[in-house]
Protein backbone atom coordinates (compact mmCIF):
# COMPACT_ATOMS: atom_id res chain seq x y z
CA UNK A 1 0.00 0.00 0.00
CA UNK A 2 1.24 3.44 -0.92
CA UNK A 3 2.39 5.63 1.96
CA UNK A 4 0.54 8.91 2.40
CA UNK A 5 0.87 12.35 3.91
CA UNK A 6 -2.49 13.22 5.39
CA UNK A 7 -3.78 16.39 7.00
CA UNK A 8 -7.04 16.19 8.89
CA UNK A 9 -8.79 19.48 9.69
CA UNK A 10 -5.62 21.31 10.69
CA UNK A 11 -6.31 24.76 12.11
CA UNK A 12 -3.95 27.25 13.67
CA UNK A 13 -4.68 30.55 15.34
CA UNK A 14 -2.15 33.07 16.61
CA UNK A 15 -3.98 34.78 19.46
CA UNK A 16 -7.33 35.47 17.84
CA UNK A 17 -5.96 35.62 14.30
CA UNK A 18 -6.63 32.47 12.27
CA UNK A 19 -3.68 31.38 10.13
CA UNK A 20 -5.00 28.00 8.96
CA UNK A 21 -8.64 27.02 8.64
CA UNK A 22 -9.50 23.31 8.56
CA UNK A 23 -6.86 22.20 6.11
CA UNK A 24 -7.37 18.63 4.93
CA UNK A 25 -5.68 16.69 2.16
CA UNK A 26 -4.12 13.36 1.39
CA UNK A 27 -1.23 12.81 -1.00
CA UNK A 28 1.13 9.97 -1.90
CA UNK A 29 4.55 10.27 -0.22
CA UNK A 30 6.38 10.50 -3.52
CA UNK A 31 7.19 13.28 -5.96
CA UNK A 32 6.90 17.04 -5.49
CA UNK A 33 3.96 18.79 -3.87
CA UNK A 34 4.09 22.54 -4.44
CA UNK A 35 2.06 24.85 -2.30
CA UNK A 36 1.41 28.26 -3.81
CA UNK A 37 -0.27 31.26 -2.30
CA UNK A 38 0.15 34.93 -1.55
CA UNK A 39 2.28 36.25 1.33
CA UNK A 40 0.56 35.47 4.62
CA UNK A 41 -1.72 32.84 3.05
CA UNK A 42 -0.59 30.25 5.62
CA UNK A 43 1.92 28.21 3.59
CA UNK A 44 4.77 28.59 6.08
CA UNK A 45 2.47 27.84 9.02
CA UNK A 46 1.41 24.58 7.38
CA UNK A 47 5.01 23.59 6.56
CA UNK A 48 6.02 24.39 10.17
CA UNK A 49 3.25 22.15 11.51
CA UNK A 50 4.05 19.27 9.18
CA UNK A 51 7.76 19.51 9.91
CA UNK A 52 6.99 19.40 13.69
CA UNK A 53 8.19 22.94 14.42
CA UNK A 54 4.77 24.16 15.43
CA UNK A 55 1.79 22.57 17.15
CA UNK A 56 -1.59 23.01 15.47
CA UNK A 57 -4.46 24.54 17.45
CA UNK A 58 -6.66 21.67 16.31
CA UNK A 59 -6.63 18.81 13.86
CA UNK A 60 -3.98 16.25 13.19
CA UNK A 61 -1.62 15.01 10.50
CA UNK A 62 0.06 11.75 9.62
CA UNK A 63 3.12 11.11 7.52
CA UNK A 64 3.43 7.45 6.56
CA UNK A 65 1.09 6.45 9.43
CA UNK A 66 3.11 8.39 12.01
CA UNK A 67 1.03 10.95 13.85
CA UNK A 68 3.26 14.00 13.72
CA UNK A 69 1.28 15.92 16.35
CA UNK A 70 1.49 13.18 18.99
CA UNK A 71 4.78 11.63 18.00
CA UNK A 72 7.04 14.31 16.49
CA UNK A 73 10.29 12.61 17.55
CA UNK A 74 9.53 9.59 15.37
CA UNK A 75 8.97 11.50 12.14
CA UNK A 76 12.02 13.74 12.70
CA UNK A 77 14.25 10.79 11.82
CA UNK A 78 12.87 10.81 8.27
CA UNK A 79 12.46 14.51 7.47
CA UNK A 80 14.71 17.46 6.76
CA UNK A 81 13.53 21.04 6.64
CA UNK A 82 14.74 24.25 5.06
CA UNK A 83 12.96 27.17 6.68
CA UNK A 84 12.10 30.18 4.59
CA UNK A 85 14.09 32.47 6.90
CA UNK A 86 17.05 30.13 7.45
CA UNK A 87 20.45 31.71 6.91
CA UNK A 88 23.92 30.28 6.67
CA UNK A 89 25.74 30.88 9.97
CA UNK A 90 28.03 33.85 9.36
CA UNK A 91 31.15 32.53 11.06
CA UNK A 92 31.09 29.09 9.45
CA UNK A 93 32.28 28.09 6.00
CA UNK A 94 29.94 26.13 3.71
CA UNK A 95 31.95 22.95 4.37
CA UNK A 96 31.68 23.44 8.14
CA UNK A 97 27.99 24.36 7.93
CA UNK A 98 27.04 21.18 6.05
CA UNK A 99 29.30 19.01 8.22
CA UNK A 100 27.88 20.18 11.55
CA UNK A 101 24.30 19.79 10.34
CA UNK A 102 24.98 16.19 9.37
CA UNK A 103 26.47 15.60 12.82
CA UNK A 104 23.30 17.03 14.37
CA UNK A 105 21.37 14.53 12.26
CA UNK A 106 23.29 11.82 14.11
CA UNK A 107 25.75 10.77 11.41
CA UNK A 108 29.18 9.54 12.43
CA UNK A 109 32.14 11.86 11.76
CA UNK A 110 33.50 9.92 8.77
CA UNK A 111 30.11 9.49 7.12
CA UNK A 112 29.32 13.19 7.67
CA UNK A 113 32.66 14.18 6.10
CA UNK A 114 32.01 11.94 3.09
CA UNK A 115 28.47 13.22 2.57
CA UNK A 116 29.68 16.81 2.91
CA UNK A 117 32.24 16.34 0.14
CA UNK A 118 29.65 14.60 -2.07
CA UNK A 119 27.11 17.38 -1.79
CA UNK A 120 29.75 20.10 -2.27
CA UNK A 121 30.55 18.41 -5.58
CA UNK A 122 26.91 17.94 -6.59
CA UNK A 123 26.06 21.58 -5.89
CA UNK A 124 29.30 22.90 -7.40
CA UNK A 125 30.22 24.96 -4.34
CA UNK A 126 33.79 23.66 -4.09
CA UNK A 127 35.54 26.96 -4.79
CA UNK A 128 33.57 28.69 -2.03
CA UNK A 129 33.58 25.79 0.41
CA UNK A 130 36.25 27.22 2.71
CA UNK A 131 35.29 30.89 2.65
CA UNK A 132 33.33 32.09 5.68
CA UNK A 133 29.63 32.51 4.87
CA UNK A 134 29.68 36.20 5.82
CA UNK A 135 31.82 36.85 2.74
CA UNK A 136 29.62 34.91 0.31
CA UNK A 137 26.76 36.21 -1.80
CA UNK A 138 23.16 35.62 -0.71
CA UNK A 139 22.56 33.19 -3.57
CA UNK A 140 25.53 30.99 -2.70
CA UNK A 141 24.53 30.96 0.97
CA UNK A 142 21.03 29.83 -0.02
CA UNK A 143 22.56 27.13 -2.19
CA UNK A 144 24.64 25.93 0.77
CA UNK A 145 21.52 25.59 2.90
CA UNK A 146 19.69 23.62 0.22
CA UNK A 147 22.76 21.39 -0.22
CA UNK A 148 22.86 20.91 3.54
CA UNK A 149 19.24 19.72 3.72
CA UNK A 150 19.55 17.43 0.71
CA UNK A 151 22.83 15.93 1.98
CA UNK A 152 20.94 14.38 4.92
CA UNK A 153 19.53 11.70 2.63
CA UNK A 154 16.12 12.18 4.29
CA UNK A 155 13.35 10.79 2.11
CA UNK A 156 10.94 13.58 3.04
CA UNK A 157 12.07 17.14 2.43
CA UNK A 158 10.25 20.32 3.40
CA UNK A 159 11.58 23.27 1.44
CA UNK A 160 10.00 26.61 2.24
CA UNK A 161 10.66 28.91 -0.71
CA UNK A 162 14.01 27.27 -1.46
CA UNK A 163 14.93 29.23 -4.57
CA UNK A 164 14.50 32.76 -3.21
CA UNK A 165 17.68 34.68 -3.99
CA UNK A 166 19.02 32.16 -6.50
CA UNK A 167 20.04 33.34 -9.96
CA UNK A 168 18.25 31.74 -12.94
CA UNK A 169 21.08 29.29 -13.62
CA UNK A 170 21.34 28.19 -10.00
CA UNK A 171 17.57 27.80 -9.96
CA UNK A 172 17.64 25.59 -13.06
CA UNK A 173 20.43 23.53 -11.48
CA UNK A 174 18.37 23.03 -8.36
CA UNK A 175 15.33 22.07 -10.42
CA UNK A 176 17.45 19.44 -12.13
CA UNK A 177 18.50 18.03 -8.75
CA UNK A 178 14.93 18.08 -7.42
CA UNK A 179 13.61 16.36 -10.56
CA UNK A 180 16.07 13.53 -9.96
CA UNK A 181 15.28 13.38 -6.25
CA UNK A 182 11.54 13.30 -6.67
CA UNK A 183 11.71 9.81 -8.15
CA UNK A 184 12.70 8.46 -4.76
CA UNK A 185 11.75 11.27 -2.35
CA UNK A 186 8.76 13.31 -1.28
CA UNK A 187 9.43 17.02 -1.57
CA UNK A 188 6.97 19.47 -0.04
CA UNK A 189 7.82 22.91 -1.32
CA UNK A 190 6.29 26.32 -1.10
CA UNK A 191 7.05 28.87 -3.75
CA UNK A 192 6.04 32.23 -5.14
CA UNK A 193 7.42 31.27 -8.53
CA UNK A 194 4.51 29.70 -10.32
CA UNK A 195 6.73 28.51 -13.17
CA UNK A 196 8.73 26.62 -10.53
CA UNK A 197 5.62 24.82 -9.31
CA UNK A 198 4.60 24.15 -12.91
CA UNK A 199 8.04 22.80 -13.78
CA UNK A 200 8.51 20.57 -10.74
CA UNK A 201 5.26 19.63 -9.08
CA UNK A 202 3.34 16.41 -9.44
CA UNK A 203 0.63 17.91 -7.26
CA UNK A 204 -0.13 21.54 -6.59
CA UNK A 205 -2.05 23.13 -3.74
CA UNK A 206 -3.43 26.65 -3.91
CA UNK A 207 -3.63 28.39 -0.58
CA UNK A 208 -5.63 31.51 0.11
CA UNK A 209 -6.30 33.18 3.45
CA UNK A 210 -5.53 30.05 5.46
CA UNK A 211 -7.59 27.71 3.30
CA UNK A 212 -6.54 25.12 0.80
CA UNK A 213 -8.79 26.20 -2.07
CA UNK A 214 -7.59 23.68 -4.65
CA UNK A 215 -5.36 20.65 -4.80
CA UNK A 216 -4.46 18.27 -7.61
CA UNK A 217 -2.23 17.77 -10.61
CA UNK A 218 -1.94 20.62 -13.07
CA UNK A 219 -4.28 18.76 -15.40
CA UNK A 220 -6.82 18.29 -12.62
CA UNK A 221 -6.65 21.96 -11.71
CA UNK A 222 -7.17 22.86 -15.36
CA UNK A 223 -10.25 20.63 -15.46
CA UNK A 224 -11.69 22.36 -12.39
CA UNK A 225 -11.74 25.69 -14.13
CA UNK A 226 -14.37 26.64 -16.73
CA UNK A 227 -11.88 28.29 -19.02
CA UNK A 228 -9.30 26.72 -21.27
CA UNK A 229 -7.53 29.74 -22.79
CA UNK A 230 -5.94 32.94 -21.68
CA UNK A 231 -6.09 35.91 -24.04
CA UNK A 232 -3.88 39.00 -23.81
CA UNK A 233 -5.15 42.05 -25.66
CA UNK A 234 -3.02 45.15 -26.03
CA UNK A 235 -5.32 47.72 -27.51
CA UNK A 236 -6.80 50.93 -26.13
CA UNK A 237 -9.89 50.55 -28.35
CA UNK A 238 -11.01 47.54 -26.34
CA UNK A 239 -12.91 48.27 -23.14
CA UNK A 240 -13.08 46.08 -20.10
CA UNK A 241 -16.87 46.15 -20.26
CA UNK A 242 -16.98 44.78 -23.80
CA UNK A 243 -14.79 41.81 -22.83
CA UNK A 244 -16.45 40.86 -19.55
CA UNK A 245 -19.27 38.91 -21.21
CA UNK A 246 -16.80 36.57 -22.91
CA UNK A 247 -14.98 35.34 -19.84
CA UNK A 248 -13.18 36.35 -16.66
CA UNK A 249 -10.94 39.41 -16.73
CA UNK A 250 -7.98 38.83 -14.42
CA UNK A 251 -5.65 41.67 -15.35
CA UNK A 252 -6.00 45.18 -16.69
CA UNK A 253 -2.78 47.07 -16.58
CA UNK A 254 -0.72 49.28 -18.93
CA UNK A 255 -3.40 49.14 -21.65
CA UNK A 256 -3.11 45.37 -21.54
CA UNK A 257 -6.08 43.21 -20.66
CA UNK A 258 -5.99 39.54 -19.83
CA UNK A 259 -9.07 37.38 -19.77
CA UNK A 260 -9.77 33.70 -19.34
CA UNK A 261 -12.17 32.22 -21.87
CA UNK A 262 -13.64 28.90 -22.88
CA UNK A 263 -13.07 27.17 -26.24
CA UNK A 264 -16.11 28.75 -27.91
CA UNK A 265 -15.30 32.33 -26.87
CA UNK A 266 -11.63 31.81 -27.66
CA UNK A 267 -12.63 31.08 -31.30
CA UNK A 268 -15.07 33.97 -31.38
CA UNK A 269 -12.69 36.55 -29.94
CA UNK A 270 -9.76 35.38 -32.05
CA UNK A 271 -11.77 35.88 -35.22
CA UNK A 272 -13.01 39.27 -34.04
CA UNK A 273 -9.53 40.52 -33.12
CA UNK A 274 -8.09 39.32 -36.43
CA UNK A 275 -10.86 41.11 -38.33
CA UNK A 276 -10.36 44.31 -36.36
CA UNK A 277 -6.55 44.01 -36.60
CA UNK A 278 -6.19 44.06 -32.83
CA UNK A 279 -2.94 42.77 -31.35
CA UNK A 280 -3.56 39.80 -29.11
CA UNK A 281 -2.04 36.53 -28.01
CA UNK A 282 -3.76 33.34 -26.94
CA UNK A 283 -2.40 30.50 -24.83
CA UNK A 284 -3.73 27.49 -22.99
CA UNK A 285 -4.29 28.53 -19.38
CA UNK A 286 -1.18 28.41 -17.19
CA UNK A 287 -0.82 27.81 -13.47
CA UNK A 288 -0.67 31.58 -13.02
CA UNK A 289 -4.11 31.90 -14.63
CA UNK A 290 -5.45 29.10 -12.45
CA UNK A 291 -3.97 30.79 -9.38
CA UNK A 292 -5.67 34.10 -10.17
CA UNK A 293 -8.92 32.28 -10.87
CA UNK A 294 -9.07 30.31 -7.64
CA UNK A 295 -7.80 33.06 -5.37
CA UNK A 296 -10.34 35.39 -7.03
CA UNK A 297 -7.71 38.06 -7.43
CA UNK A 298 -7.85 40.71 -10.13
CA UNK A 299 -5.10 43.14 -10.96
CA UNK A 300 -6.85 46.20 -12.33
CA UNK A 301 -5.58 49.73 -12.72
CA UNK A 302 -7.93 52.40 -11.42
CA UNK A 303 -8.88 53.37 -14.98
CA UNK A 304 -10.34 49.90 -15.51
CA UNK A 305 -12.29 49.65 -12.27
Amino acid sequence: MQELIECKNISKTYGKKPALKNVSFSLPLRGVFALIGRNGAGKTTLIKILSTLLEPTSGTAEIGKINIVKNPAEIRKSIAVLSQEAKAVNWLTPRQQIFIYLLYRGMGINEAKMKTEEVIKTFKIGKNADIVNSRLSGGIKRKVLIAMVISTGSKILFLDEPTIGLDPIAREELWYILRRLKKTHFIFLTTHYLNEAEALADNIGIFDEGRLVQIGTLQELRKNINYQYSIYVQESRISLKSLKRYGKVVKGIDNKLQLLVDQKNADLLSKRFIQQKIRFSINPISLEDIFYYFTKKQILEESYE
Binding site: K48, S51, T52, L53, L54, E55, P72, A73, R76, K77, I79, A80, V81, L82, S83, E85, A86, K87, A88, V89, N90, W91, L92, T93, Q96, F99, I100, Y101, L103, Y104, R105, G106, M107, G108, I109, A112, V132, V149, F158
Partner: protein
Amino acid sequence: MSNIFSKIYASVLVTAVYAMKNYPTMVISSLLTPFSLLIFVILISKGALLDIAIIGAILSTMISSGIVLQIDLSHLKNDFKMQDMIVSSPTSAFIYIFGMSISELVYNLPTFAILISLAVFFVHIPLVPILTIILVMCMSFAFSTSLGFLISTFSSDMMQSWTFSGILTILLTTISPIYYPITYIPLPFRYVAYLSPTTYAAEIAQNALGSLKLPLSTLIINWIVLIALSAIILVIAIKKNRWREK
Protein backbone atom coordinates in the same frame (compact mmCIF):
# COMPACT_ATOMS: atom_id res chain seq x y z
CA MET B 1 26.24 6.42 21.66
CA SER B 2 28.32 7.65 18.72
CA ASN B 3 25.09 9.24 17.57
CA ILE B 4 24.87 11.35 20.75
CA PHE B 5 28.59 12.14 20.58
CA SER B 6 28.15 13.44 17.01
CA LYS B 7 25.39 15.80 18.12
CA ILE B 8 27.38 17.14 21.07
CA TYR B 9 30.47 17.45 18.88
CA ALA B 10 28.42 19.47 16.36
CA SER B 11 27.57 22.05 19.04
CA VAL B 12 31.19 22.24 20.19
CA LEU B 13 32.27 22.87 16.61
CA VAL B 14 29.66 25.56 15.90
CA THR B 15 30.14 27.97 18.77
CA ALA B 16 33.63 27.09 19.99
CA VAL B 17 36.07 25.40 17.61
CA TYR B 18 34.96 26.85 14.27
CA ALA B 19 34.14 30.24 15.79
CA MET B 20 37.66 30.55 17.25
CA LYS B 21 39.31 29.05 14.16
CA ASN B 22 37.57 31.41 11.74
CA TYR B 23 37.62 34.48 14.02
CA PRO B 24 40.75 34.16 16.28
CA THR B 25 40.08 37.53 17.95
CA MET B 26 37.26 35.79 19.84
CA VAL B 27 39.89 34.03 21.98
CA ILE B 28 41.32 37.37 23.10
CA SER B 29 37.85 38.68 23.86
CA SER B 30 37.01 35.61 25.97
CA LEU B 31 40.18 36.14 28.03
CA LEU B 32 39.64 39.83 28.73
CA THR B 33 36.55 39.83 30.95
CA PRO B 34 37.66 37.56 33.83
CA PHE B 35 41.25 38.86 33.76
CA SER B 36 40.32 42.53 33.81
CA LEU B 37 38.35 42.08 37.05
CA LEU B 38 40.93 39.70 38.49
CA ILE B 39 43.77 42.18 38.03
CA PHE B 40 41.60 45.03 39.34
CA VAL B 41 40.72 43.17 42.58
CA ILE B 42 44.31 42.01 43.14
CA LEU B 43 45.63 45.56 42.69
CA ILE B 44 43.02 47.19 44.94
CA SER B 45 43.55 44.58 47.70
CA LYS B 46 47.35 44.76 47.27
CA GLY B 47 47.40 41.01 46.73
CA ALA B 48 45.44 40.15 49.89
CA LEU B 49 42.53 38.73 47.87
CA LEU B 50 44.71 36.88 45.35
CA ASP B 51 43.35 33.38 46.07
CA ILE B 52 39.69 34.46 46.35
CA ALA B 53 40.02 36.48 43.15
CA ILE B 54 41.54 33.59 41.18
CA ILE B 55 38.84 31.15 42.32
CA GLY B 56 36.29 33.94 41.77
CA ALA B 57 37.52 34.40 38.21
CA ILE B 58 37.06 30.67 37.48
CA LEU B 59 33.60 30.74 39.08
CA SER B 60 32.72 33.88 37.17
CA THR B 61 33.78 32.26 33.89
CA MET B 62 31.57 29.25 34.65
CA ILE B 63 28.59 31.49 35.43
CA SER B 64 29.22 33.76 32.44
CA SER B 65 28.99 30.66 30.26
CA GLY B 66 25.24 30.63 30.90
CA ILE B 67 24.93 34.28 29.93
CA VAL B 68 26.97 33.79 26.76
CA LEU B 69 25.04 30.59 26.03
CA GLN B 70 21.80 32.58 26.13
CA ILE B 71 23.20 35.01 23.55
CA ASP B 72 24.62 32.25 21.32
CA LEU B 73 21.39 30.25 21.38
CA SER B 74 19.27 33.33 20.67
CA HIS B 75 21.60 34.32 17.83
CA LEU B 76 21.40 30.87 16.23
CA LYS B 77 17.65 30.67 16.80
CA ASN B 78 16.55 34.15 15.75
CA ASP B 79 19.10 35.30 13.20
CA PHE B 80 19.98 32.08 11.40
CA LYS B 81 16.91 29.94 12.24
CA MET B 82 19.34 27.14 12.97
CA GLN B 83 17.31 25.99 15.96
CA ASP B 84 14.34 25.34 13.61
CA MET B 85 16.52 23.00 11.59
CA ILE B 86 17.66 21.26 14.79
CA VAL B 87 14.14 20.99 16.26
CA SER B 88 12.93 19.19 13.14
CA SER B 89 15.92 16.83 13.25
CA PRO B 90 16.48 13.79 15.49
CA THR B 91 18.36 15.94 18.03
CA SER B 92 16.48 16.46 21.30
CA ALA B 93 16.39 19.73 23.23
CA PHE B 94 18.43 18.15 26.02
CA ILE B 95 21.24 16.93 23.75
CA TYR B 96 21.33 20.29 21.96
CA ILE B 97 21.55 22.30 25.17
CA PHE B 98 24.06 19.87 26.69
CA GLY B 99 26.27 20.14 23.60
CA MET B 100 25.99 23.91 23.53
CA SER B 101 26.87 24.09 27.25
CA ILE B 102 29.96 21.96 26.67
CA SER B 103 30.85 24.23 23.76
CA GLU B 104 30.88 27.22 26.13
CA LEU B 105 33.40 25.36 28.32
CA VAL B 106 35.52 24.55 25.27
CA TYR B 107 35.33 28.18 24.16
CA ASN B 108 36.67 29.18 27.58
CA LEU B 109 39.44 26.56 27.62
CA PRO B 110 42.26 29.13 27.09
CA THR B 111 40.86 31.17 30.01
CA PHE B 112 40.56 28.07 32.22
CA ALA B 113 44.08 26.96 31.33
CA ILE B 114 45.57 30.26 32.52
CA LEU B 115 43.34 30.58 35.59
CA ILE B 116 43.94 26.99 36.72
CA SER B 117 47.71 27.47 36.27
CA LEU B 118 47.47 30.58 38.49
CA ALA B 119 45.43 28.58 41.02
CA VAL B 120 48.07 25.81 41.11
CA PHE B 121 50.74 28.44 41.89
CA PHE B 122 48.88 30.71 44.27
CA VAL B 123 46.03 28.76 45.89
CA HIS B 124 47.23 26.09 48.30
CA ILE B 125 44.42 24.10 49.88
CA PRO B 126 43.87 20.39 50.66
CA LEU B 127 42.00 17.97 48.38
CA VAL B 128 38.56 18.07 50.05
CA PRO B 129 38.11 21.86 49.69
CA ILE B 130 39.31 21.57 46.08
CA LEU B 131 36.58 19.00 45.42
CA THR B 132 34.05 21.25 47.17
CA ILE B 133 35.04 24.16 44.94
CA ILE B 134 34.82 21.98 41.82
CA LEU B 135 31.35 20.83 42.87
CA VAL B 136 30.20 24.41 43.48
CA MET B 137 31.50 25.37 40.06
CA CYS B 138 29.66 22.49 38.39
CA MET B 139 26.43 23.46 40.16
CA SER B 140 26.84 27.11 39.15
CA PHE B 141 27.53 26.06 35.57
CA ALA B 142 24.44 23.80 35.46
CA PHE B 143 22.32 26.57 36.99
CA SER B 144 23.50 29.35 34.68
CA THR B 145 23.33 27.29 31.47
CA SER B 146 19.81 26.02 32.29
CA LEU B 147 18.73 29.60 32.95
CA GLY B 148 20.45 30.76 29.75
CA PHE B 149 18.69 28.09 27.68
CA LEU B 150 15.30 28.82 29.23
CA ILE B 151 15.58 32.54 28.55
CA SER B 152 16.89 32.05 25.03
CA THR B 153 13.76 30.12 24.04
CA PHE B 154 11.67 33.17 24.95
CA SER B 155 13.74 35.78 23.12
CA SER B 156 12.55 36.64 19.65
CA ASP B 157 15.37 38.94 18.53
CA MET B 158 18.87 40.02 19.46
CA MET B 159 17.75 43.25 21.15
CA GLN B 160 15.73 41.17 23.61
CA SER B 161 18.64 38.81 24.03
CA TRP B 162 21.04 41.66 24.91
CA THR B 163 18.50 42.98 27.43
CA PHE B 164 18.24 39.54 29.08
CA SER B 165 22.01 39.30 29.06
CA GLY B 166 22.33 42.64 30.88
CA ILE B 167 19.85 41.55 33.56
CA LEU B 168 21.58 38.18 33.99
CA THR B 169 25.02 39.82 34.27
CA ILE B 170 23.81 42.11 37.05
CA LEU B 171 21.96 39.30 38.83
CA LEU B 172 24.63 36.62 38.56
CA THR B 173 27.97 38.39 38.54
CA THR B 174 27.67 42.06 39.57
CA ILE B 175 25.68 42.02 42.81
CA SER B 176 27.21 38.81 44.11
CA PRO B 177 30.61 38.91 45.82
CA ILE B 178 32.45 36.50 43.57
CA TYR B 179 35.89 38.17 43.57
CA TYR B 180 35.86 39.28 47.23
CA PRO B 181 34.23 38.19 50.54
CA ILE B 182 30.65 39.27 51.22
CA THR B 183 31.86 41.04 54.38
CA TYR B 184 33.34 43.72 52.10
CA ILE B 185 29.81 44.84 51.26
CA PRO B 186 28.31 47.28 53.81
CA LEU B 187 25.55 45.62 55.81
CA PRO B 188 22.30 47.07 54.50
CA PHE B 189 23.41 46.25 50.94
CA ARG B 190 24.68 42.80 51.84
CA TYR B 191 21.14 41.45 51.80
CA VAL B 192 20.76 42.53 48.16
CA ALA B 193 23.65 40.22 47.31
CA TYR B 194 21.63 37.30 48.65
CA LEU B 195 19.11 37.88 45.86
CA SER B 196 21.70 36.39 43.57
CA PRO B 197 22.04 32.60 43.63
CA THR B 198 25.71 32.91 42.82
CA THR B 199 26.31 34.60 46.20
CA TYR B 200 25.63 31.23 47.88
CA ALA B 201 28.07 29.52 45.51
CA ALA B 202 30.72 32.17 46.14
CA GLU B 203 30.30 31.84 49.93
CA ILE B 204 30.72 28.05 49.81
CA ALA B 205 33.85 28.41 47.64
CA GLN B 206 35.32 31.11 49.89
CA ASN B 207 34.57 28.97 52.97
CA ALA B 208 36.41 26.05 51.33
CA LEU B 209 39.34 28.38 50.65
CA GLY B 210 39.40 29.31 54.32
CA SER B 211 38.98 33.02 53.69
CA LEU B 212 35.42 33.03 55.04
CA LYS B 213 34.36 31.21 58.22
CA LEU B 214 30.75 30.20 57.80
CA PRO B 215 28.79 28.50 60.63
CA LEU B 216 27.76 24.97 59.65
CA SER B 217 24.07 25.97 59.56
CA THR B 218 24.77 28.78 57.07
CA LEU B 219 26.88 26.43 54.97
CA ILE B 220 24.03 23.90 54.86
CA ILE B 221 21.52 26.60 53.95
CA ASN B 222 23.84 27.80 51.17
CA TRP B 223 24.07 24.28 49.75
CA ILE B 224 20.29 23.79 49.98
CA VAL B 225 19.61 27.10 48.22
CA LEU B 226 22.17 26.36 45.51
CA ILE B 227 20.96 22.80 44.87
CA ALA B 228 17.26 23.74 45.05
CA LEU B 229 17.64 26.71 42.72
CA SER B 230 19.66 24.67 40.23
CA ALA B 231 17.09 21.87 40.30
CA ILE B 232 14.13 24.25 39.97
CA ILE B 233 15.67 26.13 37.05
CA LEU B 234 16.64 22.86 35.37
CA VAL B 235 13.10 21.47 35.71
CA ILE B 236 11.54 24.73 34.48
CA ALA B 237 14.01 24.82 31.58
CA ILE B 238 13.05 21.26 30.58
CA LYS B 239 9.29 21.73 31.04
CA LYS B 240 8.70 25.32 29.97
CA ASN B 241 11.22 25.93 27.21
CA ARG B 242 9.80 26.80 23.80
CA TRP B 243 11.57 24.13 21.80
CA ARG B 244 8.58 23.34 19.60
CA GLU B 245 6.46 26.44 19.10
CA LYS B 246 2.87 26.46 20.34
